[in-house]
Structure formats: structure tokens, C-alpha cells
Amino acid sequence: MPSDHRLHPSSIVFALAGSLRAFLVPAVVLILTSGRSSSQPSDPGWGPTRWMNRWMPGDFEIANWQFWILLFLIPTTIAALVRYFTFRVRYEGTELVISSGILFRNERHVPYARIQNLDAVRNIVHRLLGVAEVRVETGGGQAPEATISVLHETVFEEMRRRIFAGRTEVVAEEPRVSTERELEPVRSAEREGGQTLLYLPLRELLLNGLLENRGMVLVAAAYGVLWEAGLFRSVWEQLTSGAYAPGFLRDTIVTVAGGRVPSAGRVGVLLVGVVGLLLLVRLLSMAWSFLRLYEFRLTRVGDDLRTEYGLLTRVTTTVPLKRVQSLTVRESPLQRLVTRMSVRVETAGGHGSHHDKESKQAREWLAPIIRRSAVPALVSEVLPGFDLDSVAWQSLHPRAFRRAIKPALLLAFIIAGPFVFWFGWIGLFVLGITVPVFVTLAWSHVYRTHWALRQGSGQAAGEDALVFRSGWLWRQTTIVPSTKIQVVGCIESPFDRRAAMAGVRVDTAGSMSPVHRISIPYLAREDAAMLYERLAAQTAQTAFRW
């Protein structure tokens, strides 16, 4: 059959590499911890190793752990071979058919129309070999419907083209009126008549790294690895050449707590250390952003949104516009300083697949960083006809802050209470910290928390949407088209009841931990009832289209 595709031969190597990676950390630890002793060849080995070493040529000896790793690799190898020889992908009408297996034959049919997103991940080895790891996701299930590792790039291109074409056939092709935008040279997307919505130049990438504190993650990861390997102490000692042992910080704290003034040198070293660490973290974050999002490009190809990015690992994701469950615009305090925002979308694919978190998060980034002025245009591109600037925001109940501050104060006192009880004056100092912090939290919970219900006029009933924004420092605005609302809920606590308030919650299909859950608190009861009724009615009127 001409349209029959199989895996790339290198898939066997990748499968082996994948299972070897599972052994990597234990092996490294083993080597490091055994240290000198492993360099001595006196280890006689026991059982099968001993027997095998008799047949080994020359000085080469297999240590025990090497043997066991080899033994564990056998099933993986067999599985990879079986997979390679039996795996077939073909296109039948409007379906993608994936078959595999010898003993347990499995044939999976995935209709194009049900495909939520189609992602391809190419790390540096993949790119050298010209292959890609492809993920096909539909709405149901825990894991991707199909993780195809690995296909030749041309096969992936064809798959994407076919899936895309199969969908537009149904929708009946409509000529797109492309608005005037600067069209930069795009590779694959351009060839298919794509339109660039966002391109991140180097400057924006570095800025993104600076604003998003990713460096801390790297530092934490490095620390974890070092700790795991038991190397931390030795590394520290090497770095500081024994002058400042880990007790340095503790000593300083003890000195300060003891009411004595630490020496100027110590303070200097500490300050330099802290500032250096902060700088290092930011620099790492910028490097991370550069590597991860290099050449970030968001394009619209027909009715699909396509993102491509990455320097070493090149990721290509495709999200059909219709599959966007909700859209969230975020703005952190740092981003606000430089008038940038970030935009994410949620899709229904691959619920709670933790192992696949990386690619899922990646897909949700519509725009990791974007100028504030460009946000409304992008939003109206994703949700046609939606104007973020002309939203008629509705407020919460006027007494909302008074409600929110009570539990906050209570919590602040509960936390500070034991300190006051045991330490007296120092406890009051703690109270002086917790009260403002919790009052701020309560304030940010209520201030700028607004909602709006947009009702499309007449035939545009499908364009109804609920808009919810919240947060004071970290601001988030989420738009949910009412066709994507799954369940509407109304919640009323005893305290709500006393104050004649209620809250409204809306559930959508999306990731298990939504970025910004729509839960509107402290509404006047009439408002809540009205909102609830209208949402329920709007939702019931429209059919859900994944």
C-alpha cells in the first residue's frame, strides 16, 4: 500500500536509549559512590558474570551492574524490534489507523475530526537523523492516543497535511481574508499559506527569561542531583577550598541572633554570595528561555494554530482553533513593568498525563511573552470577534473585601499566636509581618476580580463567552466560550448565606490543574443566581464541539 508508513529504523536505538536513561542515575550514583574500589579489577564477580568473564577476551571484564543492565535491556530490545517490524500507520478516508503487535495485534482508528492536537518533538539527535517523535491526542484518555517514536520527518509532514486536509474537507474550504501583517519568511507553515501571529526575536526571548524566574528551577535541579550523588559536600569544599564550610551561614546567623555584630568581611561575603546567586539565577533563566524558545513562532494555518520553537529540541505543536477550551492572559508584576503579557490556551487532550507534562505545558503557550498592545489582536484571532478591550466588567459584591479579610486576619493571628505566646515581643514582630501579608492576599483576592458575560447577538449565539479576571499582583484574565462550558455550579457557604452572597463556578475540559480556575466568589446572591441561570441556559442551548 502506498500510504502505509512504518517507523524509522532508528526507533530501535531511541527505545534502547530511553530505557538506558532509566539506568543512568543509579549507574552514576553507583560509580561515584563506589569511587576507588571499582577501579580495582580484583572484584571476582559472582554467578553469571563470573561465567561470562571467562569468555571475555583480554582484560575486559563485565562488572555485576553492567551485566544486570544488559539483562534488563533484553526485553526492551525485543519490544523495540517487535514494534519496529509490526508498527504501521496508514490513512483510511478520514481516519488515522495505527496497527502494531504480533501476538496481541492492536489496531487503533483515530478519526481526524477527533484529533485534539498533533505534536512533534525533535531533540538534537532526532534532528541529526531527520526524524520526529509524534504525539496524537484526542479528548479522552489519560495518555496521548498515540505516541509514535520515531517517524521520518517527511512522514510527519504528510500526516499533518492529511489530518489537516481531512478536516478542512469537512468544513468546506473558505478563502481566508488575510489581514495586513508583516509576513516574515516562514518555513513549513509559510508554504501551506500560514500567517505569522507572533515571532519572538532574541531580545524578547532574553526578556522572557529575565521575567520568568526559571533559573531557580535549574539551580534546584542541580542542587538535587548533587545532593543525590552525595557530592554536595565535596563540591562545596572544592569551591570554597575549605575556608567557608557549610556552617558559614549558620555561624553568621548564630552571631546575629546572639546580639553580636558579625565581621564586615562576613557580611560582605554573604552579600556578594546572595547577589551573585540572584544574578546567576536570572542568567540561567535567560539561557533556559533562549534554548527552549529559540525561534518561537506562532502561525495560523487555516483553522489551526501552530507553534514551533526550540534550539536543541525543536517542538512543533498544532492546536485546531475549535479545540481551544479556554484562553488565559497573564501578567506578572515584572511583566507589567515592561508592558508584556503571556497568553495560554487550554486544550482537552491528554488529561493528567504527568509524564507528558513538558509537551503539554509547551502546547499551552500561545505566547510566552507578548506586548500588551498586541494581546487584543491575538485574542480576537483565537476567539473570532472577541474584543478584550470592550468587555463590560461586573464587580463583586461591595462588601466582598470585608468578607475576604476576616478569614485572612484569622489565619494571620492563628499563625502568629504561638509566637506571641512563647516569645512575647518577637511574636508581635511576627504578627506585624503576617497581618499585612494576609491582608494583601485578601485584597488581591478581591481587588480587580471581575466577571463579564458576553452575549453574541442573534445568530452569533455561539460566540457567547464568560470572562473572568482576578488578581492584583499576578493578574489573570480567562475567557471561556460558552460552547466550551461543561458544568455550571453555584456554591453557597454558611458565611455566604449570612451575607446574602454566593459564588459561581464553571468547569471546562482542560488540564487537570487549570491555570486559572473560574470560580467567582462573593457575588451578590441575585447576581449569582442570574449568572448561573444565564450560563446554564447558554450552555444548554449550544452543542459542545470538543
Partner: protein, 223 residues
């Protein structure tokens, strides 16, 4: 069987996310439903007939009237709680004995055992009362648009599941529920937090009829 409920019939589910005195509340076992239910029980195949049910009977369920659960649900829950209480009592009594033995103080037992008895008695009394209280605050409403469930004594929630969003439904029955011919309706949606909405304590045939009503009729919502 429904003795627990008869006392509670004075109560009213005034869960008030929606306008409080809605006035459309009705008891489950109103005359019309009673007839239909009994008629169906005489039929041999109950489950299968529900799908081929003519729209007239299905709409009798989907009238937008807020209904309460079957009063027998109170009894079922009491039995559930009783089992739970027995387990708890056994475990905690063993714990009390261990503490007593370990302490080696004879008088401590004289203090602990009455304490244990009091705590258990209070819990038992609460658990005996709770099903009836929660029953009073639970109601459901089925109409053309979908299913709406109201529940919660202190934290009151109203959950609306539009019919067009229902992916699939279950009607399940535990051993105890079978004894009282009750059943649970479980509605699955594509949502994340409410991906499954459970309504327990319906009469089994009614659960099936609601299910039959909620099943997507038009096949046109395929994407």
C-alpha cells in the same frame, strides 16, 4: 421503612443559589410518578424498555420540577453509617485498651472507657440524624436542558449539567441499594473538576428513566 422521612416532610429544600422560595418543589412520590413507577415495575424488562420508552413518559421526568430523593435513601445511609460506626468502634476500642494496658494505670481505664463511650455515642447520634438532615437539603431537577442537582447542608452547591455536555451515564446499584431498589445515577462530562456527577438515592426505575431522558438523542453533535 420511610419512618425517618415522614418526620422530615415538614422540612423543605430551600437551597438558595437559585431564588429561595421557588415553590416548585414536589415530593418524589407524587401521584403521577407513583402510578408510572408501579406500572413499570410490573413490566418484566425494566432496563431495556427504558430506551424504547415513548417520549410521553420520559417527559414526565423532565418537567423541570424540583424533586427530592427517595426517602428510603435515609435508611440506606443509616445502615451505611452503622457499618462504619461498628468498624470505628472496634478499632478505637482496641486502641483504648492498648493505651490502658500500656499506661499500666488501672484508674485510667475508668476514665478512658466512659470517655470513649460518650464520644462514640455522640458520633452515633449524629450519624443517625445526619441522613435525614442531608436528605432535606438534597434535590434534583430534570428538564429538557439537562440535570440540576442541589445538595449540601452547610456548604450548598447547585450543579447544572447540560444535556448536550453529557458524554455517558451510569446507573449503578450496590447490594444495600438493591435491597431497597434504589440506584445511583452517574453522569460523565468532559469537564475536569466535575467530570463525574453522582446522584445517589434515586429509585432505581427513576434513575433509569432519567438516564434514558439524558441520553443524547441527536447524533448531530459529532464534530
Amino acid at each position: 421503612m420511610s419512618d425517618g422521612a415522614s418526620g422530615q416532610r415538614l422540612g423543605f429544600a430551600d437551597n438558595s443559589c437559585l431564588s429561595p422560595g421557588d415553590g416548585r418543589q414536589e415530593w418524589l412520590r407524587d401521584e403521577r410518578l407513583e402510578q408510572e413507577t408501579s406500572r413499570e415495575e410490573h413490566g418484566v424488562i425494566v432496563i431495556e424498555s427504558s430506551s424504547s420508552m415513548d417520549s410521553g413518559t420520559a417527559d414526565a421526568i423532565a418537567d423541570g420540577v424540583s424533586r427530592q430523593l427517595d426517602p428510603r435513601w435515609i435508611m440506606v445511609q443509616r445502615v451505611h453509617f452503622a457499618i462504619l460506626l461498628v468498624i470505628l468502634a472496634t478499632v478505637s476500642f482496641a486502641g483504648v485498651l492498648v493505651i490502658w494496658a500500656a499506661s499500666g494505670i488501672l484508674v485510667l481505664g475508668l476514665l478512658l472507657v466512659p470517655l470513649w463511650l460518650t464520644a462514640l455515642g455522640a458520633l452515633g447520634w449524629l450519624l443517625q440524624r445526619w441522613p435525614a438532615i442531608s436528605y432535606r437539603h438534597t434535590s434534583y431537577r430534570v428538564d429538557e436542558a439537562g440535570l440540576e442537582i442541589t445538595r449540601g447542608v452547610y456548604w450548598r452547591t447547585t450543579t447544572n449539567v447540560p444535556r448536550s455536555r453529557i458524554q455517558h451515564t451510569d446507573v449503578s446499584q450496590g447490594p444495600l441499594e438493591r435491597r431497597y431498589s434504589l440506584g445511583s445515577l452517574v453522569v460523565y462530562t468532559a469537564g475536569t473538576h466535575h467530570s463525574e456527577v453522582t446522584l445517589s438515592g434515586l429509585e432505581f426505575t427513576i434513575a433509569q428513566r432519567i438516564r434514558a431522558h439524558l441520553l443524547p438523542r441527536d447524533q448531530g453533535d459529532a464534530v
